[in-house]
Every structure is written in structure tokens, then in C-alpha cells.
Symmetry: C2
Subunit: 221 residues, 2 copies
DNA sequence: CACAGTTTGTTCTCACGTTCACAAACTCCT
DNA sequence: AGGAGTTTGTGAACGTGAGAACAAACTGTG
């Protein structure tokens, strides 16, 4: 029994699956735009670049949205995945640090098109204040608390230099943000309940370099 | 026996460990800059944001570079990790697609400082050709083959729109590039032996949104 | 030199993720 | 209606990764 929410058991979706759902969502959108209304797990898997068995297992965590012998309805599955991820609603986002990367992020169309809305661009440097980037005026970092409160912002993006990242994160958490996407090459420490995801360009290159070196080692000799 | 390369057995480092080595490298550099010459696994682990047992296990794949009862020599360990990753040598890199993101990548100091050298910026759009970004002139995409050959480029970065990404990847592979860092929101298919790593901003946000939604669901009711 | 204290390197166990293989369930054709 | 063909959903086997726990090896002190 353990009767909690009787209607909806809170399904526990594995983290690895969660990371792939957005990929499936994008692949389904591409299929829909090609006019395809139905697809098999094999079709979708190859569009998403994964194994079809893995795809089916991933989808099975959401429920049974396919039809045996037929496949999946593209629009229906797309909606179900979008709902599960939470991108059917609109997520307000603040970006802190409007350097080169901050500019690129502000102009990145993939944000707006996927249910994310940039509500503010913040930077500590006064000479940037008032400048318009992607149609949004850059504001002082101290406006953070006000903006987060007034717009119910839950997601923050850090695009500052490494030295500033921890301070920005602390201020974000204090202001009520509970999910952070960090582009600064720094380890952030945050209280429990706050999610941090890290995107680190030079780490990605170093991983490639490692494998490249291994390939090169094998060839000569 | 299986006597192949008698002196050096090609150690097989787990992928999860490889992904963390650059983090340790950065933490060690920070420690060295603080004037610290020796550290315990506990010190380094907390600087890198991981568990100390995991850190010791990771380092054990490289060899025994610590001293029991003492810890690790910062400079020595830093050199060993750098050598293992391959960043003691210089890696030439080409960046294709000089839009907002390409600009940011070209200006990103973390590349040069970590053993990576941007040898060319390429874009198909003629109006960009000749423009200087980060001290490097943007050249036509068709120069790819020449540049790769003359500079022995092994690593390419794709910062183009999604529709162009597969074409760029094909040309890169044909030119001899065997490691690709892809920022375009597209699934790339490449022949075996070519490594692709994907950095996808909107996927990261969507993963955060999923967890954010779960948190919000639990609170009311 | 012996012993207490410290820290590494490694073994063992458990959890997570991937892949295979197949029963269940659907469509279509005769 | 029945049977052949197709495709999903899932149970089971396998491989990889994480963390706890401990023996081995070092330092320093009396």
C-alpha cells in the first residue's frame, strides 16, 4: 500500500535516460517537420543516434505510448516526452556574465524555441549596462534578487570567469534559484536540493586529445 | 606473456576516469598557483569536487605516483596527468562556423592555455572572410583540406547551424581529422575510428528543467 | 629500533546502465 | 476467422562505475 498519491505513482526515471529524452524530442521534431506521422523504434533510434533496444527501454520508463506491430505516433510521443521533461511550460532563465560566451548564449535561438525564455542579462561591469544584446538590455548584477523574485526564475546560467563563479552561484541560490548551468571552469559548491550542470569546453577538448594520443601511439612502432 | 610492447603495457583507463582527469589537472594547477607543493587525496578530491576514494582509484589507473603516509607531489602528479592526457604536446585545432558561438570559442583563453592552438577559423559565408577574430583571419571553408594537411590538424570544432554540421563533419573526416567537438544540435554520423563529442546547450537546460519540475511537483499537494 | 599515526593503493560489494532475446500484441492478407 | 509478419515492452545476463573498508607503506617520535 503505502498510499501516498494514489493516482500517480511518481515514476523514477534513470538519470541516463533523462539525458537522452531531449535528444529523442529533437529527433521527433525533425521527423514531424519532414511530414512523418508514425515511426518505429528503429527509425527513431537511428535519427537519435542510439540503439533501438535502448530507445525502447528508455521510453518504457515513461509508459506505453507505442503500438505493437505499428510503432509510435510522432506527435503523440513528442507531446508525452515534452510533458515528462517539463518543456510544455515556459521556463524563465537569467544569464550572468555577458562576455563572448554570454553574448552567444543570449543570441542562441535553441533556448527560446525549447520552452526557455531569457528574462534578464546581468553583468557586474558597469560599461556593459544598458547595452542591448539579442533585444535585451544588460542590467547590473545587483538586480538579480529583484528579477528572480518578480519573474519566479528557477534556472540560472553562469557565463562569468572562473573566479567569479562561486560568488554568483551563492547569490543565485540565496535569491531562490535552484538549478544552475555553469560554463565557468570552476567547481561550484551548492547546498543540497540545488542542481548544477557543468559545461566545460577545455575538458571536452582534453578528452578528445587523450583518445587522439592513444590512436597516434598505436600507429607507429 | 603475450609479448607485444614489453616495456609499456598499454593501460586501459576507464572512460569515466578519463573524463575526470582534466578536472584533477585543473585543481592541481590551482593548488600549485597557491604555492602548495604537496597534497593528500582528501585535499585534491575536495578541490576537484569528488570523493577521495574515487580520486585515489582514478589515479591508480595511471600508476603509483603518491607516497603512503605523505600524499602527492603537486607538480609531479600534474605532469603525469598532463602526459597521460596528452596535453604536454601542442594540439592544432580548426574551428568551423564563426557565428556568435564561434567568436566566443575563438576568444576562449582556456583553449590556448591547455595545449590547444587555434590554427584557423573557417566559415562558408564570404562576408566574414578576412575579418579578424582573436587575432586570426577568417578564411573560406574550402581552405579546410589545405590547412589540415599543412598543420597536421587532428581536432576540429563544429560551431555551425545544425543543417550544415553533417557536411562539415564529412569534409573534416575526409581531410584527415579524427576527433570532432560538435556544438551544433545535430546527430553526426562518422566512420569508425573517429571520435565525436557533443556539447548541446539546450539539452543541458532541458535536463535541468526536468529535475526542476520534479522538485516543484513534490512541494504543493 | 619499535610503535603510533597517517595516507596510499587495492579488493570487495553493490548499484546502475546497456544489450540481448523473446513473449505479447497489433496489422494485414487470404 | 486464422495465420504470417511486424514491432513493442520487458525480463534476464552482462559489463562498468561508485563507495566502503582495509592492508601496505611511509613518517616521526621516544
Amino acid at each position: 500500500m503505502t498510499a501516498r498519491t494514489p493516482a500517480e505513482t511518481v515514476r523514477d526515471i534513470p538519470e541516463a535516460t533523462v539525458a537522452r529524452l531531449p535528444v529523442y524530442l529533437r529527433a521527433l521534431t525533425a521527423l514531424a517537420e519532414s511530414g512523418i506521422t508514425t515511426c518505429s523504434s528503429e527509425d527513431l533510434a537511428s535519427a537519435a543516434g542510439v540503439n533501438s533496444a535502448k530507445l525502447r527501454k528508455d521510453l518504457s520508463y515513461l509508459g506505453s505510448y507505442g503500438t505493437r506491430g505499428v510503432g509510435y505516433d510522432v506527435d503523440y510521443l513528442r507531446y508525452q516526452i515534452a510533458r515528462e521533461i517539463g518543456v510544455t511550460q515556459d521556463w524563465p532563465v537569467v544569464i550572468v556574465g555577458i562576455g563572448n560566451l554570454g553574448h552567444a548564449l543570449a543570441n542562441f535561438s535553441g533556448f527560446r524555441s525549447r520552452g526557455f525564455r531569457t528574462v534578464a542579462l546581468l553583468d557586474a561591469a558597469p560599461h556593459l549596462h544598458g547595452e542591448e544584446v539579442a533585444g535585451i538590455k544588460v542590467q547590473p548584477f545587483d538586480e538579480l534578487e529583484t528579477i528572480v523574485r518578480e519573474n519566479s526564475v528557477a534556472i540560472g546560467v553562469i557565463a562569468t570567469p572562473a573566479v567569479a563563479a562561486q560568488d554568483v552561484a551563492d547569490r543565485m541560490v540565496a535569491a531562490g534559484i535552484s538549478s544552475i548551468l555553469n560554463f565557468a571552469p570552476a567547481v561550484l559548491s551548492v547546498p543540497p536540493g540545488v542542481d548544477v550542470r557543468k559545461v566545460d569546453l577545455s575538458i571536452e577538448l582534453q578528452i578528445l586529445a587523450y583518445h587522439e594520443q592513444r590512436k597516434a601511439q598505436g600507429e607507429p612502432a
